[in-house]
């Protein structure tokens, strides 16, 4: 269970992160009191449906939330000794792309269509390490080879539109890893790719992690992806963490009604021809600060007090916990769901 926590101090420690966006209809509270740790050499998955605040969480760490309309209201994110949320933009720029890299959801739009692959690929080296162009070029070729792109020197002269989607995501990976960062943030890296390519990219992430010992923060809405590569999981809903634990525990014995409801609705768990189970209702409107458990309205186990008491994440050990007080008190036991299945939320 405590795979890493006993041995090491966290590489990244996020405490009580709150992010909101000013919109025309009012302030949207996108991330509410999110805390988690990431240890060196682990892959932490953040799962949640669209709008659950998982991407916003990671963008705030990178300082990529457009402000306005976005605003980080409070919180801290210690990366090594630096608080990413408090440090100056100059310091943050030095960390971005050097110590923390990011790959994005859509490789079609995330590469600059007006630039050849080469200059884009070596940009982190040129910015952070001032590597001479020739040497950077050599490194770029090695980086492309290491993500499984053949004929690298040819690719360097090509434009993004000449490459396939999977190839572009590989280029993104090579670009993110070229400075050998300690932390790789992957924002739904496989969502825009077809299934066979998805598996290759995931394999690549795992392989690179093992080779370089980098930590990975993997954002996804795909429980199958989580099951495949993550060591630990954070389940987010309506801008909060509802449950956290090792991948095994989350799948085998979920400790929050939301997690177990998610798993019941996995298509892989249904017999052929059977109606798919869904979670009734909609995620709550984030326009006003929530009172009580955000999942209360859709929960099978709700009692009146659920809408009143704030469901804070109760940690049972340093990185395993649930936000459901009823589960914590042992009032309800969620029916055990067997491991297996592979699908999206």
């Amino acid at each position: 269970m405590d795979l890493f926590s006993d041995r090491m101090k966290p590489l990244l420690q996020v405490e009580n992160l709150n992010v909101s966006f000013q919109t025309r209809k009012g302030r949207v509270y996108a991330v509410n009191g999110v805390s988690f740790q990431l240890y060196p050499g682990e892959i932490l998955g953040i799962v949640g449906e669209s709008g659950s605040g998982k991407s916003v969480t990671c963008y705030s760490l990178m300082g990529l939330i457009p402000n306005p309309p976005g605003r980080i209201d409070s919180g801290s994110a210690l990366f090594e000794e630096t608080d990413l949320l408090q440090c100056s933009s100059r310091v943050l720029r030095k960390i971005r792309g050097h110590h923390i890299s990011m790959i994005f959801q859509d490789p079609m739009t995330s590469l600059n269509p007006y630039m050849r692959i080469g200059p884009q690929l070596i940009e982190p080296l040129r910015i952070h390490l001032k590597t001479p162009r020739q040497e950077a070029q050599q490194q770029a070729i090695r980086a492309l080879n290491s993500v499984g792109i053949p004929e690298a020197s040819l690719r360097l002269r090509q434009f993004p539109h000449e490459l396939s989607g999977g190839m572009r995501q590989r280029v993104m990976m090579a670009m993110a890893l070229i400075t050998e960062p300690e932390l790789l943030i992957a924002d739904e890296p496989t969502t825009a790719l077809d299934v066979t390519v998805q598996a290759q990219i995931l394999e690549l992430i795992r392989h690179r992690k093992e080779k370089t010992g980098a930590s990975v923060l993997l954002i996804t809405h795909d429980l199958g992806v989580v099951a495949e590569v993550c060591d630990r999981v954070v389940v987010m809903y309506a801008g909060r963490i509802l449950e956290t634990g090792s991948t095994r525990d989350i799948f085998k014995s979920p400790r929050h009604p939301y997690t177990s409801a998610l798993q019941r609705s996995l298509p892989g768990r249904h017999r052929k021809g059977e109606l798919l189970k869904t979670i009734p209702g909609m995620p709550p409107d984030l326009l006003e600060p929530l009172c009580g458990c955000p999942f209360a309205d859709r929960c099978d186990y709700r009692v009146p007090e659920c809408s009143e008491i704030d469901g804070e994440l109760i940690l049972e050990s340093s990185d395993c916990g649930t936000a459901c007080p009823r589960v914590h008190r042992g009032e309800i036991s969620l029916n055990e769901v067997k491991q297996g299945g592979d699908s999206s939320l």
């Binding site: 792309g97 007006y114 910015i127 434009f159 539109h161 670009m175």
Partner: protein, 311 residues
């Protein structure tokens, strides 16, 4: 690419033919003629003139005569400036207009692009509002207001430049500013819009995630795509600048092509009108081709084959 250029040049021929035909017949439909003056000419002189210039022939004969000369590059004699051919007049006036246009273009691109970039770098802040206020002024202020204003301030009050003329190098400054300012204003607005649009793209976020500073993001990543609307605007703008601006040339007494262009229409100087219009059209076709080539170079995803031939 060579094929593309050849194709575009061939396409220009029917365009120019249509322009020539329309201009030829439209000028003839317009009432009056080149020899109409306040005092009527004696009939025998008018008859002789008509005969000399071929006006006694049928309109179609004149048209085909003109075309056959045109193919040989002969734009015919001017009716107003007797003893001069249109070719000679254009050859004499074009270098002046082109020089003025080149300076104005420098002003327009230099000032416009940097003002637009500054505005895009500080959206909705002072660094945006100041250049954009100037740009709005530039678009609203006609050259016949700006020109005299500049003369008033810089030549009459400060005495830095001559009020008019085209003799000394410093004579180029005020006309170039006057002519360039309007285009600079337009370019500034196009630059700002184009770059701000680029700034919301995903690849800009990637660049930031790589640790690129704002300046690097702007110059290396946003500028190339963001300047596409500016480049598109440059085609007609360059043609307009190089073939001369009647207003600016009149204000500053510059012997450029713009004056001839407008006066030819007033004088019913048929060949002169045709000559200048065709010349202008050729420039537009040519600069648009150049612009399209630059656009393809700027945007590699666009290929020569898929590009519609915009004229």
């Amino acid at each position: 690419m060579i094929r593309y250029i050849c194709k575009r040049l061939l396409e220009a021929i029917p365009v120019l033919l249509i322009v020539a035909t329309l201009t030829f017949f439209l000028t003839r439909i317009a009432p009056g003629g080149p020899f109409d003056q306040e005092r009527n000419l004696p009939p025998e002189i008018e008859k002789q003139l008509n005969q000399y210039y071929g006006f006694d022939q049928s309109l179609y004969k004149q048209y085909f005569d003109y075309l056959s000369k045109l193919i040989r590059g002969d734009l015919g004699p001017s009716f107003k400036y007797s003893g001069w051919t249109v070719n000679e007049i254009i050859a004499g006036a074009l270098p002046v207009s082109a020089e003025l246009g080149a300076y104005a273009l420098l002003v327009a691109v230099g000032v416009g692009v940097s003002a637009g970039m500054c505005a895009a770098l500080f959206p909705n802040r002072f660094g945006d509002h100041l250049p954009m206020a100037f740009a709005m002024m530039g678009i609203c202020l006609p050259t016949f207001v700006l020109g005299p204003l500049l003369i008033l301030v810089f030549s009459l009050t400060l005495g830095w430049f001559n009020a008019s003329g085209w003799i000394y190098p410093e004579d180029r400054v005020l006309p170039a500013l006057t002519l360039g300012f309007y285009y600079a204003a337009y370019i500034a607005r196009l630059t700002r819009g184009g770059i701000l649009e680029m700034m919301t793209q995903d690849f800009i976020r990637t660049a930031r995630a790589k640790g690129a500073g704002e300046f690097r993001v702007l110059v290396c990543h946003a500028a190339r795509g963001g300047l596409v609307p500016v480049i598109s605007f440059m085609g007609p703008a360059m043609a307009g600048l190089v073939t001369g601006s009647f207003v600016v040339e009149t204000i500053f007494q510059i012997p450029g092509l713009g004056q001839y262009f407008v006066n030819a229409a007033f004088n019913r100087d048929y060949t002169m009108v045709l000559g200048t219009v065709l010349f202008y059209a050729t420039f537009i076709v040519f600069f648009n081709l150049v612009v399209d080539l630059v656009l393809v170079w700027l945007n590699p995803a666009e290929s020569f084959e898929s590009k519609p031939a915009a004229l």
